[in-house]
């Protein structure tokens, strides 16, 4: 083969910036490993110790606690659900107001600051602030989760809104639509699936986060976990773990199905799906191309 035209081969660019960044990151990681005060030797008996504790947890779990565990888990799920719903109701309009094309800087920045502050405050601290208002109740836990959700959902929301396709926005502007039209028909349709799946994901996080709030007396599975870990009732902890896993995975399946439904318009249970169809993964090339009309 020979060159057919006078186009010259370029020299390989050095890309110093990228190389420097990699060195910097590696350096930070190495420095962290080197400086942290850890007895790495403890890792040596990690396998043996893990086996021991796994046995203590699950061989057998404390079956007689199953009922109690389930009812505390239900309370946790209720806390998480209510917290998530409240978080959505508050964060949804706020994240519209924090998105770049939709609100002026003077509104946007304070809101983004608020989201960042909420994310910086530990859940326990939030919970204790709320506790002075609502007392030592699961409601306090739900409110703490709601506030936590506002921080993350608010951020995810405005990021999704900012990523909305610009074409429809322009089309709406050119046909004389106002602000409401822009939000309802320009921003929302293109970001809806993403935002909805954030909601579901946050619900999942809240179910797990409710474990922390058990500490301060908000009740739920977290409290039971806390008590039993304290007293090293490992078989009870094992039972609780089973319950937590079963319930979260059930929620995961349901929310996965909802997500598939939202994106593809079909109902499917993610775990079951593959068994039923068994087809090859979706491949752009293999599906018939859209038929041009005419």
């Amino acid at each position: 083969m020979s060159a057919t035209a006078g186009s010259v081969r370029p020299v390989r660019p050095a890309n110093w910036g990228q190389r420097a960044a990699w060195w910097l990151v590696s350096l930070i990681v190495v420095a962290a490993f080197w400086s942290v005060r850890i007895k790495w030797s403890a890792l040596l008996d990690f396998p043996g110790q893990s086996a021991k504790y796994l046995r203590a947890l699950f061989v057998p779990p404390a079956w007689h606690k199953a009922g109690e565990a389930f009812s505390s888990m239900i309370l946790s799920v209720q806390m998480a659900w209510f917290g998530t719903v409240l978080g959505i109701v508050v964060s949804f309009p706020l994240s519209f107001l924090a998105a770049r094309p939709l609100a002026p800087l003077g509104v946007r920045l304070p809101l983004r600051g608020l989201f960042a502050i909420i994310r910086a405050v530990p859940e326990v601290v939030t919970a204790i602030l709320i506790l002075s208002v609502t007392g030592l109740t699961p409601f306090t836990g739900a409110l703490a989760l709601a506030i936590g959700s506002i921080g993350t959902l608010g951020k995810w929301g405005y990021e999704a809104f900012e990523a909305a396709e610009s074409g429809p926005l322009e089309a709406i502007r050119t046909s004389g639509g106002g602000m409401v039209a822009l939000l309802r028909w320009g921003v929302w349709p293109s970001s809806a699936p993403e935002v909805l799946s954030f909601w579901l994901y946050r619900f999942e996080i809240n179910v797990r986060a409710s474990a922390i709030l058990g500490l301060i007396g908000a009740g739920g599975i977290g409290k039971m976990l806390q008590d039993n870990v304290q007293f090293r009732n490992w078989d009870v902890v094992g039972m609780l773990l089973l319950v937590v896993i079963i319930v979260t995975m059930a929620i995961d399946q349901i929310s996965g199905a909802v997500r598939v439904r939202l994106v593809s318009g079909r109902w499917e249970l993610p775990l079951v799906r593959r068994l039923a169809s068994g087809g090859a993964p979706r491949r752009k090339g293999l599906s018939p191309e859209a038929t041009p009309p005419g």
Binding site: V36, Y53, R232, V237, L241
Partner: protein
């Protein structure tokens, strides 16, 4: 005014409007029902908020007055938190990258492996971080190691989920091209999918780093070191002006990371 001239047009039948009202109604009723059920379960009491909101104000006022002179005393804990977060993020993301490929329908042709990886990942994700910390403290003892291990498990759960979703959303044309050129699945994934998901991987890693800094406040509760332990001490003595300094420190880290993350995304995309 009617914009149709009707002349010489092929008559096309107007479709009737599909009725989604029932479906929408069911969804709304269902969501409301679950919410009401939850509200009853947790004894929602809005009246208490109206009556008692001033109670929180006093503490909030104190929280808004950070005592910067406390900063030197927070440094060791801050550094320990950062160390834990850096190590956990590095180890977690290194482990999650191959796992994410294993958990992605698009990248993993082996259904059995796919199902096993996904199941294990679901397991890993469903355990609360504080529980990881508690059990690991029992296994390897108290301190940063237990914290790091807990964070690593926590990180793997998140990164694998988000990155494998990103993988599933990729256009698979390039992967097909690589396979059609005789590449193995490994080679095809490495060359075609990896470059495509790097930006989203990078931003997930930064997001997890932020989460790790925040999570250290939780795992500190069970004695896993870092800012969490410090927070526990100052709040038990109601040193809110110290607590708020720690919060400010976390806030600065969160904001820095967010800025860096969006800068990096812009650069990589």
């Amino acid at each position: 005014m009617i914009p149709v001239d009707g002349s010489g047009q092929r008559p096309t039948a107007r479709p009737s409007r599909p009725d989604h009202r029932l479906r929408t109604g069911i969804v709304i009723v269902l969501v409301m029902a679950i919410t009401v059920w939850s509200a009853r379960g947790i004894d929602v009491d809005p009246a208490a908020i109206l009556a008692n909101w001033p109670n929180a104000v006093g503490n909030l006022v104190q929280l808004f007055q950070p005592d910067y002179s406390f900063f030197p005393q927070t440094l060791p804990a801050l550094v320990e938190t950062l160390q834990m977060a850096v190590i956990a993020t590095a180890v977690g993301s290194a482990l999650s990258l191959p796992l994410a490929f294993g958990a992605s329908r698009a990248a993993n042709p082996n259904l059995t492996v796919l199902r096993v990886v996904r199941f294990v990942m679901n397991l890993v994700r469903s355990v609360p971080d504080i529980l990881y910390a508690a059990i690991l403290v029992a296994i390897v003892g108290v301190g940063a190691l237990a914290g790091i291990l807990a964070l690593v498990l926590f990180n793997i759960g998140i990164i694998v989920k988000l990155v494998s979703e990103a993988l599933d959303g990729q256009d698979l044309g390039a992967q097909e091209a690589a396979l059609a050129a005789g590449g193995s699945w490994f080679g095809a994934n490495r060359m075609s999918l990896l470059p495509q998901i790097l930006p989203s991987f990078a931003s997930q890693v930064l997001y997890t780093f932020e989460l790790n800094i925040r999570a250290s406040t939780v795992i500190g509760l069970v004695g896993a070191g870092g800012l969490g332990l410090l927070i526990d001490n100052v709040r038990n003595y109601f040193l809110y002006h110290y607590l708020s300094l720690i919060i400010v420190e976390i806030l600065v880290l969160v904001v820095l990371l967010e800025g860096f993350s969006s800068w990096l995304r812009k650069k990589l995309l």
